[in-house]
Symmetry: C2
Subunit: 376 residues, 2 copies
Amino acid sequence: MARLVTVAGLALVLGILIGIGAVSLDRATQSPEARAIKEPDNAQNQNAVVEAPGGRITIRMASAAPTSAPQIGTMAVVTVEKLQVASDGNVEIKLFEPNMLAPNAELFDKVSNGEIDAVWSSPNFFAQRDSVLWLFSTVPFGPSASEYLAWLAYGGGQELMDATFSRFNIKPIVCTVLPPESGGWFRREINTVEDLKGLRMRFMGIGAKVISRLGVETVALNGGDTFHALQSGSIDAAEFSLPFVDVRYGFEKAANHYYFPGWHQQSSLITMLVNMKVWDGMSDAQRAMINNVCGDNIRDSLAEGEVQQVQALQEIRQRGVKVHTLPKPIMDALKASWIQVVKEESAANPEFKKVWESFHTFRKSYAEWRGLGYLP
Amino acid sequence: MARLVTVAGLALVLGILIGIGAVSLDRATQSPEARAIKEPDNAQNQNAVVEAPGGRITIRMASAAPTSAPQIGTMAVVTVEKLQVASDGNVEIKLFEPNMLAPNAELFDKVSNGEIDAVWSSPNFFAQRDSVLWLFSTVPFGPSASEYLAWLAYGGGQELMDATFSRFNIKPIVCTVLPPESGGWFRREINTVEDLKGLRMRFMGIGAKVISRLGVETVALNGGDTFHALQSGSIDAAEFSLPFVDVRYGFEKAANHYYFPGWHQQSSLITMLVNMKVWDGMSDAQRAMINNVCGDNIRDSLAEGEVQQVQALQEIRQRGVKVHTLPKPIMDALKASWIQVVKEESAANPEFKKVWESFHTFRKSYAEWRGLGYLP
């Protein structure tokens, strides 16, 4: 019998993720937090179940982020619900909290070999497997959402993404887009590139490689630890997430200066990664429903993401934090550093080089239109 | 028996629209143009057919634009096809070319009274019925797509839109978003507000009210007539459409100066307008499938729209046209004029005033986030 459990606190979002259970649908009107329900353990031992060709299918999907985490987790719950309604139960996804089906570090291998049907994640969670995965998730000084989507759909990006993941026996479906992150929290104002030198800063992902070239000592910490380290002064600064997430962690109590823009993460793609055999085993209608729901999620997450940040900024300002824009010389130095990182990654990984060239060529031709077509 | 016919030439897109027939799905791999198929005439006399509660439904939808017109028409065909696949035939839309089911001018009344099940259109096509419809389709100096979607989904816009259309017994579903139009073609360079005075310019819609306050004599012409009037010099300038559409009309042969941005139309919403009784008669799954397909269309049209304009600009440049940005004093004068138009429309129509206030309040709070969050 299913029973309610309390979901992971936000302090664990995006950090070290703990497991909770499968998400059921019988609390559709409640908040995502209230809907997390533990399924009987034997659910973990059943792979994708298809009743008949084109018939009802049940898919086990492991989320790499707690389903309570704004957008990166909540949109997984939304996906399950939308599919439930649109398919009238024909496509059922059993959604599992992080580390329930397998430790997060093993999810990629397990969806690849078919032990798990699907994983909900940003590809960058698995970028240690292949650095090219960065380019399919979030890119420093990269595009905002509609340009990213344009590259994927009409600039050759999706074909490259499919080819990359097919090496791992996985079908990737972009299913949510996150808006820009913030540039980070600082205990003191920074005005020059010189001010960055020697700072200890929490920084995750490929952005850490970029900023460390400017003399910043980067450290990897999860959410709760980041807050305490910043508050106590054992670190001087921290990039974390979207303003809406930052404010739920209370970062405005730990530092007084909040910088923009988030040059390291202008938009982030969240994906359903489906084992290829499971994907191929579905009917055309089932695959189409998943594609349509994921496309609709992108509309939804774009809209929701924009609104959430507006509210969060107002809240952060009201609490006395100074909101700054990063000075141009610092932005220029970061950009120059990013170009060096790209050169290194391209030299080290031919796949990275190939995808980067597609991405970069597309962006160059897009730049004129972006500059001309849109109001300043 | 169905037979192939040639669809309307692009010269008629968005101008005076002629009718062709219903669009069938049995040429799914061909171009939208090649897929237009004439259905037997008796199809015109059947309203929405539901076989059983939740069972197969057939909906007759009249497109207000030729289905060959980039995005504004082609996305109607895409919608029909996506629904066909996702529902496995459970939701069938019979799509009719302009003026086939009824003259375009009567579509709004006929979907309102149930003579037609659904209409594919931008709400601005019907703004003579109520000026508030402008605010649900395209707004001078208005938002780009993701901000518009944010207002609709989380800023109260969709509720206002539903309330407005429910007065007409219609359920509106935003189903495609067009990227910015161009600012227009000019036979001579314009450098000052003074240069606009006395120009004869093709200009449609609410933007015409704005620019005419600066001394421009606006004229309403369809596509083919606009091209010839501009080439012959009987008009001095013309706003028309997106660069991708403009170049298919060959406007680069009629004028040498192409101006940006399209201040009058930064993004445009295209909707499925469904008779309320037909909408209410569908099952939850059927309504969900339509919502999901329309959301996915927005992802798709955003991506496609961006790419098409990039290609078109390159083509236009190569043909020797000078591409300009409108000088700031002209943009400032147009914006001041727009504020006057808003005051007049608000005074004349309480509904316009109410929706404008929601829209404007949302945009003010969004402005800080847009300025901070995104790379310059």
